[in-house]
Symmetry: C2
Subunit: 298 residues, 2 copies
């Protein structure tokens, strides 16, 4: 089997993608923090189907970790990542050393106001600044391309879409559906830290989102508090869960829905032992979207 070419220097990545575009290639980019799983691979496969040169970046970005312990224990196995990315269709794997990305701590940060402060941003202050900064840098290095992000981190996807629009980066952002185990748990690198008992109850998070979707779609609930309550009730039924949030939101800026209508997104996050589980689900209300002034997403 052909293996992807591994690049470790920024100038190698820039030169390789410039050369590919000069040959007429269409470049697909899949930014990851490694520890690849089926969710990432679905992005790589889609990028390979839609482009002629696919680059996967593997970089555990310290800027987006508030907790040094979380950064330290983040799983790393580059050989395995390269093998999996290659099998899924990657041509290049960019795996820079830390000093390649930030030879010194960056003074520059990119902030997406509003979107970055809610939900995950409230639980993890500064997290989305770290994400926005590294993504702006990776997209700057990659140049004109399509970049693939999972809907699993739906708020991250919204932040990235917004900064690309606001900064006019020459990149198309492609959001890809969450990949789940048969029992509904979303694939995530952090699942590796769950004990067997925790793993057994983790799918209750998805069950809560399904309860929210039933409230929106089947029961045609218009009161967002009622939808949030339906999700919260399922989460509260699992004593190992400590709920961070469960909310029905507008799919573009993730602000709380004033009235449940049109396309909405259900967001939920819980702590389970030492692990945070974050998940989301789209839902479509039978009530037409009347009071919304704009919708970019969903």
């Amino acid at each position: 089997m052909l293996s992807a070419t591994v690049l470790t220097r920024r100038d190698e990545l820039v030169a390789a993608l410039d050369a590919a575009r000069e040959r007429g290639a269409r470049v697909g980019l899949v930014p990851t923090m490694g520890a690849l799983h089926g969710g990432h691979l679905s992005l790589v496969r889609r990028a390979a189907a839609e482009n002629t040169t696919v680059a996967v970046t593997v970089y555990v970005n310290p800027l987006q970790f508030g907790d040094p312990g979380d950064l330290e224990r983040y799983p790393r196995d580059l050989d395995r990542d390269v093998e999996m990315a290659s099998a899924a269709g990657a041509d290049l794997v960019f795996a820079p050393e830390a000093e390649q990305m930030w030879p010194e701590p960056p003074a520059t940060s990119v902030h997406v106001t509003g979107l970055s402060e809610r939900w995950e941003g409230e639980v993890r202050p500064g997290h989305f600044d770290g994400v926005a900064t590294i993504v702006t840098k990776l997209l700057g290095l990659a140049g004109r391309c399509l970049a693939y992000f999972g809907e699993k981190d739906f708020q991250q996807l919204a932040v990235v879409r917004r900064l690309v629009t606001d900064l006019s980066l020459p990149v198309g952002i492609v959001g890809c559906p969450v990949v789940r185990y048969p029992d509904g748990l979303a694939l995530s690198s952090r699942n590796a830290h769950l004990s067997a008992e925790e793993r057994a109850v983790a799918p209750r998070l998805y069950a809560a989102l399904l309860a929210g979707r039933r409230a929106v779609e089947d029961d045609a609930v218009t009161d967002p508090g009622e939808v949030d309550g339906a999700m919260a009730a399922v989460l509260a039924s699992e004593p190992r869960f400590s709920t961070d949030y469960a909310a029905v939101v507008r799919p573009d800026d993730l602000s709380p829905a004033a009235v449940v209508a049109g396309q909405v997104r259900l967001l939920a996050a819980v702590r389970l032992g030492d692990v945070r589980l974050v998940d989301n689900l789209p839902a479509t209300s039978p009530h037409p979207e009347a009071a919304r002034s704009r919708s970019e997403d969903g």
Copy 2:
């Protein structure tokens, strides 16, 4: 005389510069807020000498104005700007309407910490975030190029250099010397707002910088307070001046010099009537630079 092509839409600029690069052109970019004067023209001429396609952008960026009155009275005359830019060697003038640049107020901002808070940043809170955000956007639109900025706004130049490094933008930043009237006053769009009396005393700002340079170069002063004092004394001798700052700083991050040694920069800003005058000058101390850990500039 050939006139530059005027573009008003972002996609036109992107297409024109992509096409130029595909033809093998080297692209030079001169971002301006219009009201072109000899300082800008020196940038355009240098860009024309070093590149095959030169684009001048004319956009009065509302993000970098704290004071709405200042934004409103900022001089605008596009026909004159196009004529002057063309004569200096511009091939393209990008003059977008506000809704082309920010169809809605951007949620995204770029911040360069440290550098942005000092000197001008202290007097004009948020100013450099507005600069960093629009420059990141303009450089994103322009793509691979050399971008020309005047040393007149030395702190702006330092902010731009830093964000380009931190975000790995595919752009080379070229700083160009301040252009002055024979009496020493630096060319600036804001000089138009000076009364005849104010215009007559304005060159005292340059005189203060020269006094600072004499202290550094001729008197070999090592105490930064003494250099600052030499400049402050000249500024205080002009009763119409109200001094915002006068300081000898490190040329890379514009932090106050601990000891005057090696390459330094002299910064000063005063208010004169309703106008702020900002200027700077490089200086080289006869004392070798021993205590400095790094220097990117100067």
